[in-house]
Symmetry: C2
Subunit: 419 residues, 2 copies
């Protein structure tokens, strides 16, 4: 089911119609006046009116009705040029472009401030994970001492596969390309440039210092061999491409991207596949941890569209918020597995009696532990059920309490499902 | 070193001077005109001018210079009354009060909107972890299907101790009280009410539905026995007090707080001690994970002060942002452990030669693995060093490459420190 954003105006131009662009377009097509593409004749598996598709950026710039430009082309040029021109034309800009924001962020943010428009770029780092806005807004009272993260999903997918399946980079890379997790030209990911752009963006915000790309040490993953994972494991470590920005012993800022051995007992070692994670240390907040999908069309669109809602809400022109009206339901309709600890008679037939009561309510038993024979001839019986309705469980418990063989139900704990 | 907030005005009233209040006051005392306390004669280990301490709330309400009230009294009354009166007097309010926001959030937020003032409450849930603002702002494009979290540090500390040390609740509770992790009257934590208030706040935001306190199922931890952890462990689980809000099979919203068995392989099972963690599932963003200090004076103050900066920045009256000017440093001064994989001659004295080169730069070796004798008589040698300067390591590597016994340095990976 398609969600409806309650927007009344066609005030948005979308630049680029790749995987992220398509998801964004599908969510807000009622409000998009232009979709800029390179080749207007290309076949696309998306319904697009001919009226809105264009390859002429000037047309967008000159249209006074457009006050929001969403840039999802990627790469430095022409994206940088388009963003700059949009800001100069007093249009708000939302971008997912880490290369442009990494290389030209300072200039563009200053330009946006001067022109009194928004330049929002939550999607440029760690896809759907809110990390830029928390640093800018929600944690602003802190002095930060370090940020470190796994912020390139492609290399993390590759390293995870190399580690788990004892494969070399070249083998895994081909598979990652076939699955769409790596680009045809994987240089930007493999050599660490993608992570370099992203850590540059985070450093600028957290440390309020302008870090130019060439001040960031970068080393990719191409020299990592399968056997390194084996040796690292013997020593108690795994290997990840880590991007870090931290205040060092001399109170200077060091920003760097390189493969790192991570101790197996810390959470960063368990961030696998295309997941991203960022750890932040602040003087007030201590250590914070953010983890989620760092890439993917929908996760990236989550950040782009949330940035859009921020602009719309702040301008208070129109209400883009959707209202839900969920019915609040009671516990009785909840379904889960149950853990029960009973004090029972140590005689045959106890379990049969309990199972019969459960059976009347279609509750099945998945495990049984019989434990701790007490001096009084009673025993602990632990039962785990299959998923059941709370109301059925409560009804069964009442009946089971009445059984001669059951002295007491000592504990009932619900099992949280993680399917 | 005390941080300086560049504020020019005395426009803040602080209500309450407990542990959080003290940290907040120390950060912004230049801007506080009033500190409201119950007993003005009480001895406090904090420097406070007699002019600003008061027990008369009316004085604050009537002072037109006060445009921000920070409520850190806690509990329902008189905090609720003070917040309401402050909003009605057109003052912005920041609060850490989960009970007031849980029980009266809808009314107070509507009142704040009507009076065109801020009511910010990031600190009311999960202490320093940004969770309210990400839900309100950064993830607003999502339809959420579930929120679940460990959002009460006291009970999580108790359950962790019960599990690790095979103790009963009563024993651990006393220790937690002595350490200041539990209150003299622990009812609100132990019986789940604290978590109930917090999940009510998160539900209202994420599901855009008003959930009243009495619509939330609540069950505390008092029936959990030490032996339950042993049985749960045999079955592959641990036990946590979990607060959840989720859309169920009938598309209704179920909000509940109760002890839950958590499978040992999911991250929620490793959230120990006073840590808090919140997992969010959205249709676009997928599964997100936030973890950090859920309580504590400084972590809570992080949220309160960041809310304050938001208000100040939005009003653009004054610049509260501190500017840092960190020197950006280069890799050469970085210190870490190093993993080296070398291809060496399989003869005695190889390691001695390498160790001597390291010694010249004061680099010590912590571990050595000798592996994989190859057909050509060479062998893999893996060396882990103690923390060393990058420039020393690079210099040593140059020398080691020249050793007759070393054919090649095949890999050098830095070890990330997690001390």
């Amino acid at each position: 089911m398609k969600k409806v954003f309650i927007l009344s105006k066609r005030n948005i131009a979308l630049l680029g119609l790749g995987t992220v662009g398509k998801v964004v377009y599908e969510e807000i097509n009622n409000n998009v006046s232009y979709v800029l593409v390179k080749d207007i004749t290309k076949k696309r598996n998306i319904q697009l009116s001919e009226k809105i598709i264009t390859n002429d950026f000037q047309e967008i710039i000159q249209d006074k009705n457009i006050d929001i430009v969403i840039e999802l082309i990627g790469g430095e040029n022409p994206a940088y040029n388009y963003i700059k021109k949009s800001i100069k034309a007093n249009k708000n800009v939302i971008t997912a472009n880490k290369e442009v924001m990494g290389k030209h962020g300072k200039e563009l943010l200053n330009l946006a401030e001067k022109n009194n428009v928004f330049l929002l770029y939550e999607a440029s780092v760690a896809g759907g994970i809110p990390i830029i806005s928390p640093l800018v807004n929600d944690l602003s009272a802190n002095e930060f001492s370090s940020i470190r993260g796994i912020i390139n999903g492609t290399t993390n997918y590759i390293l995870t596969k190399m580690s788990n399946q004892k494969l070399e980079l070249s083998d895994v890379l081909k598979e990652a390309q076939d699955l769409g997790y790596a680009e045809a030209d994987p240089t930007s990911d493999i050599d660490g440039f993608d992570a370099q752009y992203k850590i540059s963006i985070l450093s600028r915000i957290a440390f309020k210092s302008d870090v130019s790309i060439d001040q960031i040490y970068v080393e990719g993953i191409s020299s990592i061999k399968s056997k390194d994972f084996g040796y690292a494991s013997e020593l108690g470590y795994t290997i990840k491409l880590l991007a870090t920005a931290s205040i060092n012993q001399d109170k200077n800022l060091l920003v760097k991207v390189h493969p790192a051995l991570i101790p197996n007992h810390v959470p960063m070692s368990s961030v696998n596949g295309v997941l991203n994670a960022v750890e932040i240390k602040g003087d007030l907040v201590g250590t914070l941890w953010f983890q989620g999908a760092g890439a993917g069309a929908k996760a990236t669109a989550s950040s782009v569209l949330s940035d859009l809602i921020k602009i719309q809400n702040t301008e208070k022109k129109i209400d883009i918020n959707r209202k839900n009206t969920y019915e609040i339901t009671s516990m009785s309709s909840h379904i889960c597995q149950y853990y029960l600890r009973l004090n029972v008679s140590d005689k045959p037939g106890v379990l049969a009696g309990i199972a019969m009561e459960f059976g009347k309510k279609n509750i099945s038993i998945s495990s049984v532990l019989q434990k701790d024979l007490h001096d009084d001839g009673s025993a602990d019986l632990v039962i785990m059920t299959y998923p059941s309705l709370e109301r059925d469980m409560q009804a069964s418990i009442k009946q089971i309490k009445n059984l001669d063989t059951v002295f007491n139900i000592k504990g009932m704990i619900r099992v949280e499902s993680y399917k």
